[in-house]
């Protein structure tokens, strides 16, 4: 039954790729990729249990962290067109607009 769950998640990932391809705006594509990452974490964990090697969870943890950082980094890049801009907190000086 764990294998069935894995197949269901892989099916969902395939459907999400569809959204990533046809998504009209940039943000639809980023949303699809972010959700794809969450599903990848779950699929990696399930794969470990299907193959009786729960050590796969270490990779899943790493992926969960990288997924978040990459989403934020992509959003920051498309907003400022550069990674060099420091993110300044509002109300602490600076002219950050959000």
């Amino acid at each position: 039954m764990t294998a069935a769950a894995l197949i269901a998640i892989l099916f969902g990932m395939a459907l999400l790729l569809l959204r990533a391809f046809i998504g009209p705006t940039l943000y639809d594509r980023i949303l699809a990729v972010n959700s794809f990452g969450t599903k990848t974490v779950l699929a990696l964990g399930l794969l470990g249990f299907v193959m009786d090697r729960p050590e796969f969870l270490d990779i899943a943890i790493t992926y969960a962290l990288i997924n978040f950082v990459s989403t934020i980094a992509i959003l920051k890049f498309f907003r400022y067109r550069s990674f060099q801009v420091p993110l300044v907190r509002r109300g602490q000086g600076g002219n950050a607009d959000g």
């Binding site: 269901a8 569809l18 705006t25 943000y27 949303l31 779950l42 399930l46 249990f49 997924n67 934020i72």
Partner: protein
């Protein structure tokens, strides 16, 4: 008393594998439902709501099912760490996406959205 506890432990060992697999299956079906929502909804903000089904209930059910299936405490602690990460990072990523779309000037669809039949019934 000890025998009763041993019995209870035996029953638990018997029941936890089917239960965990069932929870995994339910969570993955919720993930597929969230994906269907992502494909169906009309604009980026409403798609975010559908994606958060995957991030909250789908992920929580699958991870809880894997906790029941797990062979030892080490695996449970790792799964708990994944659960905490997902619950801390997914709303932050959703908010960042919504904020970026709003700042970039993507206008949300406001008001009733429905298929033509539903609108016909309302009118």
């Amino acid at each position: 008393m000890a025998e009763f506890l041993a019995d209870l432990h035996g029953y638990w060992e018997m029941i936890r594998f089917p239960l965990g697999a069932l929870l995994c299956l339910g969570g993955s079906i919720l993930c597929v439902i969230g994906t269907v929502g992502v494909l169906r909804f009309p604009d980026i903000y409403t798609r975010l709501h559908a994606a958060s089904i995957t991030d909250t209930s789908g992920a929580a059910l699958v991870l809880f099912g894997m906790m029941l299936l797990s062979p030892g405490w080490l695996v449970i602690s790792k799964l708990f760490a994944i659960c905490v990460f997902i619950f801390l990072t997914s709303p932050t990523a959703s908010h960042a996406l919504a904020n970026a779309a709003h700042t970039a000037g993507v206008q949300p669809i406001i008001g009733r959205v429905g298929t033509s039949e539903a609108e016909g019934e309302d009118a």
